[in-house]
């Protein structure tokens, strides 16, 4: 077996040295009735590298990939161009096959990257500090809600209808068990985001208000106004960013008054990957740092006075505080954070702005083209690179029909909000710098056929 260095002679010598007659003898503590005499029944035996690769390649071939079709999906996962050097660098064995940097003397590579990553995220979000990553945007959103509860000692969260429904569902799952109260609403297919309704729901019991920016329909809420309304009642404002490239063009949430900013970092460096692994981003005001979830990397000095980095403030964490920890998280998204950080380093602020502008321009070109398709109505006034349209039919059916024509035309709101009749005609359409004029033409022509 190609991954097992011991041969039978090694095993015999080692068994003799430990005083056992066989490997079986080492499992003496397992009750005999629970020990299988041979391989687990009902499963195939080992396979060559060639055979495994062939099998996986055949399965891979059964998908229609984003790269081979005109592609307009978003809704929390975005297809951006990732430079080849990113994937090369994250496959350096010293990054790929390292553990969480518990021994800082021999993990300065990972630690310095995390310090740079934290700084990049904090500047992007406009927050004082950021952590070393969480699992993804949806779990980061829940972590922020629980953190707001710890800070304010209140248990009610007001979520805008513009928050991604999977994020809301994730929070709802958790709140059932923690006893937090969630005030949620569904979005309406109208041009304005639901800022007024959200503000009306804030009261003296509210721990936090959660607003997505841009929201799930692509609209851009007035974050500053909501921040003032929340803070006036002693609540924290949590801003969720599912498309961080937007911040290349839009003001950072921190600058608009957000107390906590969370996000999905997948757009930079990570790729679509059918939904995971992704990258939870988390930033906040410095005064809340000891209430933050997740790992933090900090600067320090070594015994020779040289600058170095360590994991710090670990008294918040589960391996020290156990049931009193700020979160149960342990393994997070280190390699995705590395990919994000490398991509961000290649871009710099200027490159991110260029990427954001191109994404927005491609989206505007797509919107202009779609507006001419009979029966299609653009919902948004404001958007970054994603907007909603209303179709004269159930958008789920339309999306499937487009796929049959080889066009991945968007995300139907029916998929995101099953059972919501008022949203069933809604389709989310996204463009990025990867979108071409040919893609837009293909979408328009396929949509015209499907709607005819």
């Amino acid at each position: 077996m190609r991954y097992l260095p011991l041969n039978d002679a090694d095993r015999a010598a080692m068994l003799e040295s430990v005083g056992a007659g066989s490997i079986e003898d080492l499992f003496v503590d397992v009750p005999a009735e629970a020990r299988l005499a041979g391989p687990v029944p009902g499963l195939p035996m080992h396979a060559s590298e060639m055979a495994v690769e062939r099998h996986m390649a055949r399965l891979s071939g059964e998908s229609l990939t984003a790269g081979e079709a005109p592609f307009f999906l978003g809704a929390g996962a975005y297809r951006h161009h990732v430079p080849a050097s990113v994937d090369h660098l994250i496959q350096r064995g010293e990054f790929l096959t390292a553990y969480t940097p518990y021994q800082p003397e021999i993990a300065q590579g990972t630690l310095q990257v995390l310090f740079e990553f934290q700084t990049q995220v904090a500047r992007l979000f406009g927050t004082d500090v950021a952590n070393a990553s969480l699992y993804d945007g949806s779990t980061a959103c829940w972590e922020a809600i629980t953190m707001a509860g710890r800070v304010t000692k209140r248990k009610k969260a007001v979520l805008s209808g513009g928050v991604h429904p999977h994020y809301v569902e994730t929070a709802r799952t958790m709140a059932k068990f923690t006893g937090d109260t969630l005030v949620t609403r569904q979005p309406e297919l109208v041009a304005a985001s639901d800022d007024d309704a959200v503000i009306a729901d804030i009261d003296g019991e509210t721990a936090c208000v959660v607003v997505q920016y841009p929201d799930v329909l692509g609209r851009i809420p007035d974050v500053a106004r909501i921040a003032q309304a929340a803070q006036a009642k002693g609540a924290l404002l949590i801003v969720v960013v599912t498309e961080p490239v937007a911040l290349g063009l839009l003001e950072s949430p921190g600058a608009l008054g957000a107390d906590i900013v969370v996000g999905e970092g997948q757009s930079l460096g990570v790729g679509l990957q059918f939904g995971g692994p992704y990258l939870g981003l988390f930033g906040c005001r410095e005064k809340y740092v000891r209430q933050m979830p997740g790992r933090l990397c900090g600067e320090t000095l070594d015994a020779d006075g040289k600058r170095g980095f360590v994991l710090t403030l670990s008294t918040r964490e589960q391996h020290i505080r156990r049931e009193k920890a700020t979160s149960n998280i342990c393994t997070n998204s280190g390699l995705c954070a590395l990919a994000f950080s490398i991509h961000m380093t290649l871009l710099g602020g200027k490159g991110l702005e260029k990427m954001a502008k191109l994404s927005r321009i491609r989206a505007a070109q797509t919107a202009q083209a779609l507006a001419k398709v009979p029966g299609v109505k653009i919902v948004n006034d404001s958007y970054f690179n994603e907007f909603a349209v209303v179709l004269p039919k159930d958008a789920r059916t339309v999306v499937r029909a487009l796929a049959d024509k080889g066009v991945l035309g968007g995300v139907s709101l029916g998929r995101l909000y099953p059972g919501a009749e008022a949203l069933s005609g809604g389709l989310l359409v996204t463009a990025t710098e990867c979108t071409t004029a040919d893609d837009i033409a293909a979408l328009v022509s396929a949509l015209e056929e499907v709607l005819a």
Partner: protein, 520 residues
């Protein structure tokens, strides 16, 4: 025992007679050991390492954006050659499995096959969107489903929740299933029992899920005190969380007895599967009465740890808990296609009891592909050999060191896949940390230290099955040398490491005045 190869040759460190530490360089670099500045110190706001297609770059289409920022984000850029060099130089300051033995107990740092990296990047898995129509992502869904079937069969369980994103997330999933099952029968319970030797994530998870945690003591032989546990069972106990094999590297012999008692008291058994590598292919947790167990794909099934994730923590579930597992999940259809059961159709397909969603989308696809490639490569026979070799390697380490290091449970018989030592016998003032830091100078990553908490100055060594006998012999040689130095009170050990890119770092300073972001 110190020989590096059969000829007995060892590299001489001081042949020139000049101590290496005495040589100063202008750059601070030491040949291949290269210092590297921060991107904020080497990049600038004008540089960019990415070129874009700028056809039809029509700035008038940027109109009408509210909240537009007035200047680009204040982040430096690097051109591609600068960036490649920056990260390559940083990478060389890391220890990694690719460089040598990484015996972190409980972490299962085994070789990461590169085939797995290759298949994870196949476009049918890597370049598909999670919300594409299901007919266009059959390749990805079939991988999820095939892996799910392997996990169910290997563990002898009834179902599996694939979406949890790491071990602790899997623990949460398991506890939420337990809670949902109890609530479905109108039986709200408040307490989760957790043995003292458990990973910190166990009590943290139970608290995160809204439970009160009570600790169960260990016996003198390093196992759960069954009498204390069964005595505590009652109508308020929702379940127990047990790690098996446990964090002392021992199999919980009485798990079936415990499971039966917990079930009789109306509770459920959560098994922390962090140490599944010790028994994979030989023992099915389902046969021991387990109701839920997470499997760290990044441990047992060799997806890379990546310097702290991403992981993946699917949870296998018993028949009693499976109906409550989270959405979404895969189901194979009669026509051979695989269907993803989401909120849209869950109720009408008879899955109305599912407790909901744990995260956006469908879990860690990039880890599923890697784990499946690994599992298919080994097969049922290879996986059995994996656990056998992992346990043999750990016992070999245990018996090669138990004359120079205290092995608290060594006398009782073989260990499982990790060997546990204590600092008993070290000279006054010498600690586990000193030995661990000494290992760094010897070219190894230290073992897990000060865990489990039930052993003083614990050192938990998990060599894994992907170490050769030669590699183990070299590690054992280093450990014997270090143990002797710690027992003899060699002062140089107290300031180790001396040869790493950094000496011991001041963690107190870091925590007292946290500097978490770079500032000019």
């Amino acid at each position: 025992m110190n020989e590096i190869n059969p000829s007995g040759w060892r590299p001489a460190m001081r042949e020139s007679g000049v101590p290496a530490s005495a040589i100063e360089t202008f750059t601070g670099n030491r040949a291949l050991q290269l210092e590297e500045a921060l991107i904020f110190e080497i990049g600038n706001l004008e540089h960019c390492g990415v070129d874009f297609d700028e056809d039809d770059f029509d700035e008038t289409l940027l109109g009408g954006l509210p909240s537009r920022r007035s200047a680009p984000v204040d982040l430096p850029g690097l051109t591609e050659p600068e960036a490649v060099r920056h990260y390559t130089r940083l990478s060389r300051q890391n220890y990694a499995i690719d460089l040598g033995l990484f015996p972190l107990g409980s972490c299962t740092m085994k070789h990461n096959p590169r085939l797995d990296e290759k298949v994870a990047r196949m476009p049918g898995f890597a370049d598909v969107h999670p919300l594409q129509p299901q007919s266009t992502v059959q390749g990805a869904l079939k991988v999820m489903n095939e892996l799910a079937q392997w996990l169910i069969t290997l563990t002898g369980m009834h179902g599996v929740a694939m979406t949890p994103k790491a071990g602790a997330h899997g623990e949460l999933c398991g506890l939420l299933c337990i809670r949902a099952a109890l609530e479905a029968r109108g039986d709200a319970r408040e307490v989760i029992l957790v043995p003292e030797s458990a990973h910190g994530t166990n009590p943290a998870t139970a608290a995160f899920a809204g439970y009160r945690v009570e600790n169960i003591p260990a016996t003198a032989d390093g196992r759960v005190d069954v009498a204390a546990l069964t005595a505590r069972l009652g109508p308020d106990v929702a379940g127990v969380m047990i790690t098996n094999p446990n964090t002392c590297g021992l199999f919980e012999r009485d798990l079936k007895t415990i499971s039966d008692a917990v079930h009789a008291a109306g509770g459920f058994v959560y098994c922390d599967g962090a140490n599944f590598n010790a028994i994979v292919g030989r023992v099915r947790p389902g046969d021991l009465g387990v109701d839920a167990m997470h499997i760290n794909l990044h441990k047992t099934f060799s997806t890379p740890h990546g310097g702290g994730g991403p992981g993946s923590g699917p949870v296998v579930l018993s028949e009693a808990l499976a109906p409550y597992g989270p959405l979404p999940f895969t189901a194979r259809q009669a026509d051979g296609t695989v269907h993803l059961v989401e909120e849209e159709t869950a109720a009408e397909e008879g899955h109305g009891q599912a407790f909901g969603r744990m995260c956006a989308f469908h879990g860690q696809m990039g880890m599923y592909t890697r784990a499946l490639a690994y599992i298919l490569s080994h097969g049922a026979d290879g996986l059995r050999q994996v656990s056998g070799d992992a346990v043999l390697n750990a016992n070999y380490v245990l018996r090669s060191l138990d004359d120079v290091l205290d092995a608290p449970f060594g006398a009782a018989g073989p260990c499982m896949h990790e060997a546990l030592f204590s600092d008993d016998g070290f000279a006054e003032g010498f600690s586990t940390l000193d030995l661990a830091k000494g290992l760094i100078d010897e070219g190894f990553h230290p073992m897990t230290v000060y865990f489990p908490l039930v052993v003083h100055g614990a050192m938990l060594v998990e060599p894994t099955e992907t170490e050769s006998k030669r590699s183990l012999d070299q590690f054992i040689g280093a450990m014997r040398s270090l143990a002797e130095r710690a027992r003899a009170g060699d002062e140089a050990l107290k300031s180790a490491p001396h040869l790493a890119p950094r000496r011991r770092l001041d963690e107190t300073l870091a925590a007292r005045k946290p500097k978490l972001v770079w500032k000019t």
